[in-house]
């Protein structure tokens, strides 16, 4: 048994070492950010995790920083990680990957620390949500959905891949609000992640589903799913569907991901963090990564990101208050 374990360890060590070497190879640039640690407040493999690991790798490839470490501290929709970040007051070598989901979790979990306690660094990417049905659904355009929905909200179950307070929950709530439906009358059915939701949409278990645009690209292309509308400000390339605004519904909604730092860090630290993300955003490697992952660039740095986060937070709070969730 020792032999096998030793072999496995050796293999793993070789892989880790090669990764470290690649990292160590990068030199120069802004040395101040060497040893930056990026916290991911949920499990490995999720959207935040991939964004953080891609950022770290890009910084190293673009020689902006060395030995950038990504670690996961999952729990309670990201608020466990948020609490830890706020506790690390003044730590200029720590950043947390976050996004709209964390904004909602702060309210639904009644978290003691909020995003207002953090130092905003940058918004990185955004993604439009889609309103989607199966190919043999009775609905062929968004107006039909709206009509049925208005007539009897209870009989139109809405499927989403996030728990109440998450992006897939907020999008239909905003639409309902825009067409004059009470938030409480919306029959929102939460599913665990994208898999169960996809099955429910394909099997016509829900009237329509709400999801990030990137998750179901292949099913859309294969004709298994029909997109009725995209929630963002612009149409999405390759998807034949209007924006909500074009369809006469006054809603613009995008899911976004960004980075925040602990409170009380020095101005120099803050500037260094904003700079390293700004430089990363300008690099060719990041452009490649955006294309590879199908992310939309939505870079917004420093205080502007702070203002944006405040607006988002207020909007989310209003919706959740109406639902009794905040």
């Amino acid at each position: 048994m020792r032999k096998v374990l030793a072999t496995a360890v050796a293999v793993a060590a070789a892989i880790t070492l090669s990764a470290c070497n690649a990292a160590g190879g990068a030199a120069g640039g802004n040395d101040q950010m060497n040893g930056l640690r990026i916290m991911v407040p949920n499990t490995p493999g999720g959207g935040y995790d991939i964004t953080a690991r891609t950022s770290a790798k890009t910084m190293e490839q673009a020689k902006l920083a060395r030995a950038v470490e990504v670690f996961n501290l999952p729990g309670a929709g990201g608020t466990v990680g948020l609490g830890r970040l706020v506790n690390e007051k003044g730590n200029g070598k720590l950043a947390m990957q976050m996004g709209l989901g964390v904004v909602g979790s702060v309210y639904t979990n009644k978290a003691p620390s909020t995003l207002a306690d953090t130092t905003p660094i940058a918004r990185l990417v955004e993604e439009s949500d889609i309103i989607v049905v199966s190919k043999d659904s009775q609905y062929t355009d968004i107006q039909q959905v709206v009509d049925d929905w208005k007539a009897d909200p209870g009989s139109v179950p809405v499927g989403g891949g996030s728990s109440p307070g998450g992006p897939d929950h907020l999008a239909p709530m905003l639409v309902a609000d825009a067409i004059g439906l009470k938030a409480k009358s919306v029959n929102y059915v939460p599913f665990d992640g994208g898999g169960e939701l996809l099955a429910s949409i394909l099997g016509n278990k829900v009237a329509f589903g709400v999801s990030g645009v990137g998750e179901y690209l292949d099913q859309i292309e294969a004709g298994e799913l029909r997109v009725l509308a995209v929630t963002g400000p612009e149409r999405v390339e390759g998807i034949d569907a209007p924006t909500l605004k074009e369809a006469g519904i006054d809603v613009e909604f995008t899911n976004w991901r960004g980075v925040v730092a602990p409170p009380g860090i020095s101005d120099a630290d803050r500037k260094a963090l904003v700079d390293v993300y700004t430089d990363m955003h300008g690099s060719k490697e990041w452009k490649d990564a955006l294309a590879r992952n199908g992310w939309d660039d939505a870079f917004l740095a420093g205080d502007e990101f702070g203002t944006f986060m405040k607006e988002q937070s207020d909007e989310v709070e209003k919706i959740l208050k109406d639902l009794g969730l905040a």
């Binding site: 096998v4 793993a12 493999g45 991939i50 209870g154 029959n187 898999g195 099955a199 969730l325």
Partner: protein, 512 residues
Amino acid sequence: MDVFGNLLEGFGTAITPTHLLFAAIGVLLGTAIGVLPGIGPAMAVALLLPVTYNIEPTGAFIMFAGIYYGGMFGGSTTSILLNTPGESASVVTAIEGHPMAKAGRGAQALAAAAIGNFTGAMAGTMLLVVLAPLVANLAVDIGAPDFLAVMLLAFIAVTSVLGKSRVRGFASLAIGLTLGLVGLDSMTGQQRLTFGSLHLSDGIDVVVVAVGLFAVGEALWVAAHLRRAAAKPIPVGRPWLSRQDIKRSWKPWLRGPVIGFPFGAVPAGGAEIPTFLSYVTEKRLSKHREEFDHGAIEGVAGPESTASASAAGTLTSMLTLGLPTTATAAVMLAAFQQHGIQPGPLLFQRESDLVWTLIASLFIGTILLLVLNLPLAPMWAKLLRIPRAYLYAGILFFASIGAYAVSGSVLDLVVLLVIGVIGFMMRRFGLPILPAIIGVILGPNAEQQMRRAMQISDGDLAGLVNTTFSVVVYGIIVLILLWPVLRKLVGRRGARPDGHDPAELEKETVDA
């Protein structure tokens, strides 16, 4: 059918030295990760993901699939040896596997698990090849009312593991259901039994409950009644399966895929429920029912085969539909996207080479795993010859790492201790452990599916029975419940059920 032509081509690509090497690395890593506490295959794939950016995708996915299958093989090892399941798929294995190890039949338990995993993975992968399109349709048609019906069926099956005293069995089940309630309500986001703690709002992981009740509870209980005199080491026993062992195991091995594969393929299926159902089935069908709870080999062979087959089912849905039914599959999907491959219904057409190479390498990986794990069984089993004090200290040590590594939180250790104390109390007062585990697995799932079904039908109770599938399952449940009556009507007298006669209970005298 050109399926086999494709598969042959896949083998052609898979049996190149590089791809064989990746398969070997994958299964080795997977086995090691399965053995280590606290790290499941999902986490392993996620951690390795950045490393594979520079590898061509086929090699990367051969490795990931190897890790997934390897984790299924390796997961049984700590379950059997230390009573400390490393992941949810191997929780059930501990029930019979650990008593076997204690009785000096650790090598047999491990071998039965390895061969079980081999049969499950082989049969499952073959089903993947043959049934892929069919499964794709089935997975989509199964909805919340169907899941609920299957889970209620599973609850009925709990009665066969309640032990001698019904009320004590139900007490255990209720404790499990209570533990399952902890956390944010998945439908409305309400806090339940979290006492304001953020750490509890994700609920208590079934692995933490299993490790707490099995491992920590047992260590405390042993401490209270340590057999000081007879400190003889656990006998090594014979290294290989006897003819009798094989005779008892081959049917469970073959039944595993039948139960495991469909559950793996449907969303909300996973490995926990089918492994438990396999355990109950084997207990019912076994000719050695009296050996259950004390190390019956069927209780290892069946669930392990089921677990691996469910992994194959998961891959089927992932490859044909882009439908991740488990956490590991979700991470692998993310990995596909990272390599610029869009998973989903077009995958078979667009990346035909990759998919068939991957499937071929699953067969190869399974064989590698058997070759790797079978000789290891007697070696692992020798580990148990260490002194008792070290054995239990090691159990606590690894249980602690496992709980801590999951989220890096001390609170998980506190939760583990509290559950361990409950496990101690349950042993002291003669409550069986298994119903509590079942409660944790089934309770939250059943509640979620019931409420989801009710919500989709907008509160109409008919929403629970509006599918053919669910009606059929409820029919089976009614049949099972009425069976004793029916049997009386027919007038045949079979073996007495293992129910506890209350009159006997009364006669039992009190030990002061």
